[in-house]
């Protein structure tokens, strides 16, 4: 059974007798956990992880991709100037990009609408990443209902991914979601319009802010969407050189690929297509 025992998170016991073996169990535990996780995921006939198609990011992630049986958090970060993000359109775009990568099947999308100021995901735009006919939209009045619906969705064999849009940060609910995701090999995404207290159990946490796009030379038009992506937490992955690795991404709506814009070439349109990588 792929159940995380609570003692797995406990600090290693510091007794004189097992001082020598302390480093070993930690790595062993991690090894066993990985075996368990990939086993439970493969038993359901799914891949253990899904590569994002961006080598620079995939290299940092465990099993060189986004784990399918795990909880991932995506939050809209503040704008480059430090102001609070006016909206989470970019975070939604990135979430939709991830959803497009998780196999076929219904996508359960749970929301808590905010009255008359509510802005629902708009299917014509989402169709760039996946077929909106796959969506099952659920509206919940309370956060408990939202987390319950997400958990039910994770247990359903026909669901390929579960998305929850909420401002609530409930550690117990987060842990339950993470366990359900791990057990069934179905990814759970938490989408937040504002940075919230982090879920301690999520496998990855991403922060996305829209970045200024690059106009056609000589014009003042809106270019391809650019996002500033930060990997705030990477639980099972490889540590990177930077404390929080960060990339500037560009989504090309015509070729349907997400690629890293090299920072040095930032804004010089003549060369920005050379480093394009298929996503």
């Amino acid at each position: 059974m792929p159940v995380i025992s609570p003692s797995a998170f406990a600090p290693p016991a510091s007794g004189a007798a097992n001082d020598r073996v302390v480093p070993l169990p930690a790595s062993l535990r991690e090894k066993v956990r990985r075996l368990e996780r990939s086993n439970s995921v493969r038993r359901r006939g799914r891949a253990a992880s899904v590569p994002l198609g961006i080598p620079a990011i995939d290299a940092l992630l465990p099993e060189s991709g986004l784990l399918t049986g795990a909880l991932h958090e995506i939050e809209a970060g503040p704008a480059p100037s430090g102001r609070v993000a006016p909206h989470d359109g970019a975070a939604l775009g990135f979430a939709a990009h991830l959803l497009g990568h998780f196999g076929p099947g219904t996508i359960l999308w749970c929301r808590r609408p905010t009255g008359t100021f509510d802005a629902a995901p708009y299917a014509p735009a989402l169709s760039a990443w996946f077929d909106p006919a796959r969506l099952l939209m659920v509206t919940a009045r309370r956060d408990e209902d939202l987390f319950w619906a997400m958990e039910e969705g994770l247990r359903c064999p026909g669901i390929s991914a579960v998305v929850g849009e909420t401002r609530a940060a409930d550690p117990t609910a987060g842990r339950r979601l993470s366990l359900a995701a791990e057990k069934n090999g179905v990814p759970a995404l938490l989408l937040r319009a504002q940075p919230a207290p982090p879920q301690s159990v999520c496998a990855t946490r991403w922060r996305i802010a829209s970045a200024p796009s690059c106009s056609t030379p000589g014009l003042k038009d809106v270019g391809a969407p650019r996002w500033r992506l930060e990997l705030k937490r990477n639980r099972f992955g490889t540590p990177s050189a930077a404390e929080t690795p960060s990339w500037l991404l560009e989504w090309n709506d015509e070729t349907h690929c997400l690629a890293v814009v090299p920072e040095a070439l930032h804004g010089s349109p003549g060369t920005r297509f050379e480093e394009r990588l298929v996503g």
Partner: protein, 494 residues
């Protein structure tokens, strides 16, 4: 007689205000309780409680005084006695009277082949033994009863009495043709209905479900575990009925008949015909918690008011593009049913596309029961349009703008008390109102006028935030020199 006259005659007369509505509610409650005997229960349209006219109701005995219920117990009597015959009918009648008497309700119940005969016997039979009319014995049973038992209109009744026709039996030897010529066809019809020569349909209070199972308990049950176990047994029996008939349930209703005479009901709906016992039981488990057994439940009835033809295990061939989505064979439909039961059916939806140019009309929410969108329907819609926002506001929010040139995209807009300086803009994309469609209030735009238009711009502020703005109509100056067009933000782009 007036109340004042009555008081003059009898000064210590006790008076109570009439409560026709309360009487009607009581009769309806008793009718609901009678569902335990048969699903075919009707409130007697001739009874006092349902008469609209207060004066008429008072003259005929007052509200509730002669209120009646008609029960069609065909095929139900074997549940109460041994065999199909008379013993079951007698047992049902006795059970009905005793149970009502136990609740301090005085009643007279008669059993006969026809509703008309039972009506007359219940009101005018003189001996207790006459209340049960054996099969095909209504002619003899009715003969000694007064003609009031024929449910005739008051003028006809008066004439009959004047002519000395006091008993129903007096009318039997009369030639029919002169009777019709003299009194109209009502008396002859009533006699034929009472004697069973003419059919008299009873309109049931609730449409009886085609599929129904019942479970009566020797001892009332009160624990929720017992209720759940009984539901499970009823469901198993009902699912066998479904299999034989080749149907599946769309709506199921469980009714708990409590010992205090009240009835508690709960229902579950499914988005496609279902006869899978474990799945339906899972749906019921959500609802059973809301049911209150009260002081005990003596009878449970599970019925299926809505069924549909069941097309077999494989509902649809999987789509080529999305093999598991459209078919719903992968448990998604069951998940949607479970979610809809707790959150409400309108809160669990699929998104369908609609051929429209108006951004807010493109996306339609449809309940899971509706047919899913064809694969690729969205791709076609999306390819027709320009760049669209990832989020669309429920209602566009007005913004204050500053523009150097009136027809240009604004240079600054103020939304939710924050100023956004625009550095890049795409547009305009002009979207006109659909003049061929009536407005929400039902009116049509007058002929010869231009339909309202919106000019959409995709803009980016100096922070990189991308918005979808529109100007409500082309730029024009009003008489007072103020521009007429207003600006709105309608969506957020990726």
């Amino acid at each position: 007689m007036r109340l004042a006259d009555a008081r003059a005659l009898l000064p210590d007369l006790v008076t109570v205000a009439g409560e026709p509505q309360a009487d009607l509610r009581l009769v309806e409650a008793i009718a609901a309780w009678c569902d335990r005997y048969t699903p075919w229960v009707a409130i007697d349209p001739m009874g006092g409680a349902v008469a609209d006219d207060i004066a008429r109701a008072c003259s005929t005995g007052g509200f509730g005084g002669d209120a009646g219920l008609l029960l069609d117990v065909t095929g139900c009597t074997h549940l109460f006695g041994e065999g199909e015959g008379e013993s079951g009918e007698r047992a049902l009648l006795a059970d009905l009277v005793t149970r009502l008497a136990r609740r301090d309700l005085s009643c007279r119940a008669a059993m006969a082949d026809t509703a008309g005969a039972a009506w007359a016997l219940a009101r005018f039979a003189e001996r207790q033994a006459d209340l049960f009319c054996p099969a095909r014995g209504q002619r003899d049973a009715l003969a000694p009863l007064p003609v009031e038992g024929l449910r005739l209109e008051a003028p006809i009744l008066e004439t009959f009495l004047k002519l000395g026709l006091r008993r129903i039996g007096d009318l039997y030897p009369m030639p029919r043709a002169p009777l019709v010529r003299r009194f109209g066809e009502q008396p002859v019809r009533r006699i034929d209905q009472a004697l069973g020569r003419l059919d008299e349909p009873i309109e049931p209070r609730r449409l009886p479900p085609a599929f129904r199972t019942r479970l009566a308990f020797a001892e009332p049950i009160g624990r929720s575990e017992d209720v759940a176990a009984a539901t499970s047994r009823l469901l198993a029996a009902l699912c066998r009925q479904f299999e034989q008939a080749g149907v599946g349930a769309r709506l199921l209703e469980i009714a708990l008949y409590r010992v205090d005479g009240s009835v508690d009901r709960a229902s579950i709906g499914t988005s496609r015909p279902n006869r899978d016992n474990p799945k339906l039981m899972k749906l019921f488990e959500e609802k059973l918690g809301e049911l209150d057994p009260g002081f005990g439940v003596e009878l449970m009835i599970l019925s299926a008011p809505e069924v549909e033809t069941w097309s077999g295990t494989q509902d649809a061939l999987p789509h080529q593009d999305s093999p598991t989505v459209a078919s719903g064979m992968d448990g998604t439909i069951d998940l949607a049913d479970r979610l809809a039961l707790r959150l409400g059916p309108e809160n669990v939806v699929r998104l369908l596309s609609r051929d429209s140019h108006l951004p807010e009309r493109v996306q339609v929410a449809a309940t899971v029961a509706t047919k899913p969108a064809a694969a690729g329907a969205w791709r076609r819609v999306a390819s027709l349009k320009g760049a669209r926002p990832t989020r669309l506001l429920q209602r566009p929010e007005p913004v204050e703008v500053t523009a150097f040139v009136p027809d240009d995209p604004p240079s600054v807009f103020r939304w939710r008390r924050h100023a956004h300086r625009i550095v890049r803009a795409d547009g305009p994309e002009r979207i006109a109102d659909e003049w061929w469609r009536p407005r929400p209030d039902g009116s049509r735009p007058p002929a010869g006028t231009l339909p309202p238009v919106r000019d959409y711009y995709r803009v980016e502020d100096d922070d990189g935030g991308r918005f979808w703005l529109f100007r409500d109509g082309p730029y024009r100056l009003a008489a007072n020199g103020q521009p007429t067009a207003r600006w709105f933000v309608h969506g957020f782009c990726a």
